[in-house]
């Protein structure tokens, strides 16, 4: 490369300065410039104001207002500068085909097919071994990535922590006794010891509804499940596992706020409305000699939404 002093200024195709393509797009450039100047000044004030607001730790909305206002004005000014004061054009650029000639393409294809083909044909054994090795690797490499991520489901989806004789406790761990709920009211309960655990919250959570003062039968075969009107259902919706958190007292419906599945508490939580496919599993209760509520046994089926292994 030549030293700079010896370089001649190049003469290329050009436009004379008074060419209409180079005139500003605005019909009144001075007016446009004044407006843009005001806009940019407002923008400057805005971003400076942002600095000031930040400095004095002003309310968050002032930070947003000054930053947003400042940037918006700066942006409008800049875009307007480009739109109104810069050459109006239009300018044209040729669009050339990106494709190469047929010879070039054939050369590439030939290189791949012929060179590669002869390579593989001559060395079938090691080619196959290398391919096999990489293939096996690509499969086994997934194993640690996937398998280390978590345990296998095994039986965990099928069982809860409700056991034979589990004490029913509330959120704070206090045992629930027979006089705790008025007829028509509802509470969320857990098996004793699980109320503070993630699993207790997400899997064992159970809704206890008191429907009457006498033993209540929701379905045939469940005559002893609801002593003194205490009916217990899994709180985990059978649709997508949201907690069935709403109780419509007059209609005696448990409602899931996520997708509006409704379960009738009087007939075994059969879904009355919404996308839930199954009743909420019912937990058989009994009242022990001291008046505490306890579970006769665990749930007789997996709680929550459906999955492949569930029968």
């Amino acid at each position: 490369m030549k030293p700079d002093e010896q370089r001649e200024p190049v003469h290329l195709r050009g436009l004379s300065a008074d060419d209409p393509h180079l005139q500003p797009a605005s019909a009144h450039p001075e007016r446009a410039e004044a407006v843009i100047a005001v806009t940019l000044f407002l923008g400057l004030l805005g971003v400076a104001g942002f600095g000031a607001c930040y400095w004095v730790n002003a309310a968050p909305w002032t930070l947003g207002a000054t930053l947003g206002g400042g940037l918006t004005f700066l942006g409008i000014g800049m875009a307007a500068w480009g739109k109104y004061l810069m050459p109006r054009g239009p300018f044209v650029e040729e669009r050339h085909s990106l494709a190469a000639t047929d010879e070039d393409r054939d050369a590439l294809a030939g290189a791949i097919v012929q060179r590669g083909g002869t390579l593989l044909k001559r060395r079938k054994l090691i080619g196959g071994l290398l391919g096999g090795g990489l293939g096996v690797f690509s499969v086994v490499a997934i194993f640690p990535l996937l398998r280390s991520l978590g345990p296998l489901p095994k039986g965990t989806l099928f069982h809860t922590d409700w056991k034979k004789g589990s004490y029913v406790v509330d959120q704070t761990g206090r045992r629930v006794s027979v006089g705790d709920l008025a007829v028509g009211s509802v509470m969320t309960v857990y098996p004793e010891g699980a109320q503070d655990t993630d699993r207790g919250q997400a899997v064992d959570a159970t809704v206890l509804v008191r429907l009457s003062n006498e033993d209540f039968t929701t379905q045939r075969g469940r005559e002893t499940w609801a002593p003194m009107g205490y009916v217990a259902y899994s709180k985990i919706c059978t649709h997508l596992g949201c907690p069935v958190g709403l109780y419509e007292q007059q209609l005696q419906l448990l409602v899931c706020p996520c997708h509006q599945s409704m379960f009738n508490v009087t007939n075994g939580a059969i879904p009355q409305f919404g996308p839930a496919p199954r009743p909420l599993p019912q937990l058989p209760m009994y009242i022990d000699a001291s008046g505490f509520l306890r579970s006769q046994r665990g749930y007789d089926q997996p709680i929550g939404p459906g999955f492949w292994e569930r029968s």
Partner: protein, 511 residues
């Protein structure tokens, strides 16, 4: 010591005709060879049309997301460890919560500018996904996805999916009551996949719900894994657009073989940088005045609790709506359960929709037998079937979106939930057909009207002193100033013809 006096003028001469800029370019070009490419980069012509700005909204809100997101990572802790809150937001005082929720509340209230950054991050994301959808609609309806741009359509669609996934991941991170429920639903959706569902769910979440260390995983995916892929794809998207050049609408000297517009430097650069500032500014203004995702009001997540009448971010709405209105059909036999009530609306349906979108360019080529290159865009009304199909799909998705607020609609209109449910089922099925027919008809009508869509000049009617009304004759269509000039190539230099100029393009001022 040289006996040549070092003057300002001699220094300037030594720098060559273009001064320091020229010197820098010499140095860079010697090493990297940037001169030729750099020149054609500056000269690259960008066509003008408002609809081409939609993709820029997506790009620039993505930049805002990245910038604000980096800020948030400094203060967020992805941990499920329990802490007790004693911060500046008194309603939560003394509550037990995870560190994830604690740090999210804290970065909103205790970190200066934190709330603004969090709101900007959330708003920018909502706008990002929206801009992608609208941009895709533009590309679809104008046929910009046709040969040679099918690959870029695929990349863009992948970006949309990644944006939705990452939006959901980010929405989950604060561990508030609303997002926690969202994670629970996501778990159940994964669980619903036949054969592998429970294994997948266990591996993604590290166990039975609520899993083990899920925030750690979501966090790494949200701030590293997915953004990295997205940045790569955005770069590829831009590179392909740059290499294949912009599409443009017909007219004003525009042909299949040229691009007519403004050069990158300085016109497009000024406009697009201004646009970046405007978009950032508008996001900041929205964040200042419109509250989004107030996690401190929702409270910390507890698996056994739930909030009422909450919707996910808008881009998840169609899935939620589908889950709400799909009937409770399930399958259990042979000792197995396939939760069709979840699997069909939440897995199969989005799968079918996105695969249809991926396949569309190939499908259209197959049906139209059109294997030509297309650099000129279609007017949507000239492609009535495609336009009607797009309108039908958008109508379908929109109705699913509306269906995600059945409970709110029932409350608002004082009708039963059952009525709303049945109405939504009917609307979701019927609206696409109606949209197809109506759009098709409108397109056909527009085709029949000459110059439909062109702006006409106003009729100027004036009253004479005598009280007579006279219409000033004017052309039917205003002459666009730009149309009067023939497009010219971007000039290599501009000759001012001024006597001061001694060398072309360089003005030497003696001091």
């Amino acid at each position: 010591m040289s006996d040549v006096a070092v003057t300002k003028r001699s220094q300037r001469r030594a720098l060559g005709p273009y001064g320091r800029v020229g010197k820098t370019i010499n140095e860079l070009d010697e090493r990297l060879g940037i001169a030729k490419g750099g020149r054609s980069f500056l000269d690259k012509v960008y066509p003008d049309h408002w609809s081409f700005l939609l993709g820029e909204i997506a790009l620039y809100s993505f930049i805002v997301i990245l910038a604000t997101g980096v800020f948030l990572t400094f203060y967020y802790t992805p941990s499920q460890a329990l802490v007790t809150y004693h911060g500046s937001y008194l309603p939560l005082d003394g509550q037990k919560m995870t560190e994830a929720y604690f740090s999210s509340v804290n970065l909103s209230f205790a970190v200066r500018g934190g709330l603004l950054m969090r709101q900007m991050h959330h708003w920018a994301c909502d706008i990002f996904v929206g801009a992608i959808v609208v941009h895709m609609a533009r590309v679809f309806f104008t046929g910009a996805f046709r040969k040679p741009r099918e690959l870029n359509w695929t990349i863009g669609l992948t970006l949309l999916i990644l944006a939705i996934v990452n939006g959901f991941l980010g929405y989950s991170l604060p561990d508030d009551l609303v997002s926690g429920t969202g994670i629970r639903i996501a778990y159940s959706i994964i669980e619903s996949i036949p054969l592998v569902g429970s294994y997948l769910a266990f591996w993604i979440f590290g166990g039975n719900y609520p899993g083990n260390g899920v925030f750690q995983r979501f966090y790494v995916a949200h701030v590293l894994l997915v953004p990295l892929i997205m940045i790569g794809l955005v770069s590829a998207h831009m590179f392909l657009m740059f290499r294949q050049k912009h599409t443009q609408f017909d007219g004003g000297g525009r042909t299949e073989d040229n691009v007519v517009g403004k050069p990158f430097f300085p016109v497009f650069m000024a406009k697009t940088t201004g646009y970046l500032l405007i978009i950032t500014g508008v996001i900041a203004l929205l964040s200042a005045f419109a509250q989004v995702n107030p996690i401190w009001q929702f409270g910390p997540y507890e698996a056994a609790r739930i909030s009422y009448a909450v919707q996910p971010d808008w881009y998840m709405g169609f899935l939620d709506g589908a889950l709400r209105i799909w009937p409770s059909w399930t399958f259990h036999s042979f000792g197995h359960t396939i939760p069709f009530e979840v699997f069909i609306p939440a897995v199969l349906l989005p799968g079918v929709i996105f695969n249809l979108a991926f396949a569309w360019p190939a499908l259209e080529r197959r049906f139209t037998h059109d294997d030509e290159f297309h650099n000129l865009l279609d007017r949507p009304s000239n492609r009535p079937k495609r336009t009607a199909a797009g309108a039908a799909l958008l109508a379908f998705l929109f109705m699913l979106f509306v269906a995600s607020s059945t409970d709110v609609l029932a409350n608002f209109f004082h009708v039963s939930l059952n009525t709303v449910l049945i109405a939504m089922r009917v609307l979701v099925v019927a609206t696409p057909f109606i949209a197809y027919l109506v759009t098709y008809k409108i397109c056909k009508e527009l085709q029949a009207v000459h110059n439909a869509g062109r702006r006409k000049t106003a009729n100027i009617v004036s009253r004479t002193p005598a009280g007579e009304y006279v219409a000033t004759p004017s052309p039917l269509y205003p002459d666009d100033r730009h149309d009067k000039l023939e497009p010219t190539p971007v000039p290599d230099f501009i000759s001012t013809g001024s006597p001061e100029v001694t060398e072309s393009g360089v003005r030497t001022v003696e001091r």
